[in-house]
């Protein structure tokens, strides 16, 4: 059965987000001859060609003054308009801050089933089957939407994006979003002085725990992150102690991350912390206690003082990466 796929693409800091390309790849894998359309809501400076190169057949650029900033009312109304015009069978978006805010309401508006935070999508006997973690990754389910529109968010870093192919061609069309009353108003956005790398989508995460001892103690971690192009994360104990913002917290009551490389510094490895990072591809742990449980889940363990080991790693990587 041919399926028409609609991917809600996202821009962050002026760049298309990699997870949007991953959603296009997921869409291609289940389209069975249908088309993949990427939609961008009011991203004035993106021309859409990169989405075509990454596997979309068409791009719809939706303009509207009220779409510049994300609001549930503005974006939902615009998405609904495009969805009805495109007659999509499947709507996909990254499991990002916006994706998890927008798609549940979109699914409900259309009385549709939704799969959240999928880490894999495949066809099985003509059916679209999603895999998603439950109990913060202690178990997994495979899940299907039994009838009608399929809505899903895809976790960043899990589905491989297609290589960019500049030879691909496709239409880029513009559309205008109808105005809508906004019941929520964004007054201010306070940007965190982090590395600028989005934690949940980062390929490398350098995380600090209580062992980091103070806000000042995070400095060497930021320096390592800078060299590696990594995001900085934290354990709850570090956030509770005020060493860093809760936004950095990784774990069962924090963010879930699946980077290629996770470097845990001064983190003991409590079960609630592991829940948020144990699906990372490679885990390195630095801890002065050789009995720390984090070593049981680590690929590489370094027993030592993080204030010696981390700056050493920073120097080594700096030399290595040139």
């Amino acid at each position: 059965m041919a399926r028409n796929i609609l991917v809600v693409a996202e821009v962050r800091n002026g760049q298309l987000r990699p997870v949007s390309f991953e959603c296009i790849a997921a869409g291609r894998a289940i389209a069975e001859g249908g088309s993949v359309t990427a939609v961008l809501l009011s991203q004035a400076d993106v021309d859409g060609s990169e989405l075509i190169a990454r596997g979309a057949d068409r791009v719809v650029l939706v303009k509207g003054e009220h779409l510049k900033e994300y609001t549930p009312d503005g974006w939902l109304s615009a998405l609904q308009q495009v969805y009805l015009a495109e007659k999509a069978d499947v709507v996909l978006m990254g499991h990002t801050g916006i994706g998890r805010d927008l798609l549940p309401r979109f699914a409900m508006r259309n009385a549709a089933g939704m799969i959240s935070d999928a880490i894999a999508v495949k066809l099985e006997g003509g059916q679209v089957v999603f895999t998603r973690p439950i109990y913060a990754g202690k178990a997994y389910v495979t899940q299907i939407v039994t009838e009608g529109l399929i809505v899903a968010t895809i976790r960043p870093n899990n589905v491989a994006a297609l290589e960019a192919d500049a030879g691909r061609s496709g239409d880029v069309v513009q559309s205008e979003a109808a105005p809508v009353d906004l019941r929520t108003v964004v007054k201010e956005v306070v940007r965190q002085a982090a590395t600028g790398v989005d934690l949940t989508a980062a390929k490398i995460v350098v995380a600090g725990g209580r062992g980091v001892k103070s806000a000042e103690g995070f400095k060497p971690l930021y320096e390592l992150a800078e060299v590696l192009g990594a995001a900085v994360g934290a354990s709850r104990a570090a956030a509770d102690a005020g060493f860093c913002d809760y936004a950095l917290q990784i774990g069962q009551t924090g963010k879930t991350v699946t980077p290629d490389l996770y470097i845990a510094c001064g983190i003991s490895g409590a079960i609630q912390h592991l829940a948020g990072m144990s699906a990372s591809k490679v885990i390195v742990a630095i801890n002065k206690d050789p009995e720390a449980p984090i070593f049981k889940v680590a690929d590489y363990g370094i027993v030592g003082d993080l204030f010696e080991v981390v700056p050493l790693l920073t120097r080594e990587f700096k030399a290595l990466l040139g």
Binding site: P72, G97, R100, D101, P104, R105, A107, M108, A111, A112, G113, M114, S116, V129, P133, I134, Y135, A136, G137, K138, A139, Y140, V141, T142, Q143, I144, V145, G148, R183, T184, V185, V186, K187, E188, V189, V190, R191, Q192, T200, R236, A239, Y246, A247, L248, Q252, T253, G254, I271, S278, A279, F295, K296, V297, A298, D299, Y300, G301, I302, V303, G304
Partner: protein
């Protein structure tokens, strides 16, 4: 302020997850109020303390949710409602049940958790807002209500957005919003005497089929190198 808190009972975060016969075993597991929903209960109580009104807690689940509801009552909630879910109730069904109960009851504020720590879809509360035609603000780190408007500091992927929303609205709690209180002994005694209303889908006139199905459940396997490097 009439406040409704959507509360889910979840596995204790320490709980070991075992899959048997295609199901997650929950017989011997300690169940708790979903940690995010505990923030929601606390925030509701704080708002009531400042502005007056009532706090009602509602949960969709089997008999065991009474424990979670009773804890919320012991913390200080005024009323509790339990709804028995039909078989295989997914987020679509659960949201329909919650919205059917809340409809027409003129709550000023609905509070919920950002996500549940077990099945973690993060859909249910936002679906309820949609069904009730209410605006929502998710992942609140700070909440102030005054004169029919809520001002919310919300977590937007690490950045903090300051958002205003007109009430009635649904707001979900992010970690950092507050520090939930422990139930006091008088609170526990009082909660024991309170009735928990229990309703079924039929009582609410809800007859919807789930939109999703789980086709398999399996346990995570670990494959780590466990190599120690010289310190």
């Amino acid at each position: 302020m009439e406040i409704l808190v959507l509360l889910k009972q979840t596995f204790d975060t320490e709980a070991k997850v075992t899959v048997k016969d295609g199901r997650v075993v929950d017989d011997d597991v300690t169940l708790v109020i979903n940690p995010y929903d505990e923030y929601a209960v606390e925030e509701a109580l704080k708002i009531r303390e400042a502005h007056g009104g009532t706090v009602t807690v509602i949960s969709v689940g089997g008999d065991r949710v009474d424990e979670a509801l009773r804890r919320a009552l012991a913390m200080g909630a005024d009323e509790a409602v339990a709804i028995t879910p039909p078989e295989n109730a997914d987020e679509f069904v659960v949201a329909n049940l919650l919205a059917a109960w809340a409809k027409g009851k003129s709550f000023d504020l609905l509070l919920a958790g950002n996500v549940s720590v077990d099945t973690g879809a993060g859909q249910t509360a936002l679906r309820v807002a949609e069904l009730l035609g209410m605006p929502h603000v998710a992942a609140a780190l700070k909440l102030e209500v005054a004169g029919g408007t809520a001002t919310v500091h919300r977590d937007a992927e690490g950045d903090t957005e300051v958002v205003t929303v007109s009430l009635p609205a649904l707001i979900t709690a992010q970690q950092g919003l507050n520090e939930p209180r422990y139930p006091s002994v008088p609170g526990i005694m009082k909660a024991k005497r309170k009735q928990i209303a229990r309703l079924t889908a039929a009582d609410l006139g809800v007859d919807v089929a789930p939109k999703t199905a789980i086709t398999s459940v399996y346990q995570a396997t670990q494959n780590r190198r466990n190599r120690m490097l010289g310190g």
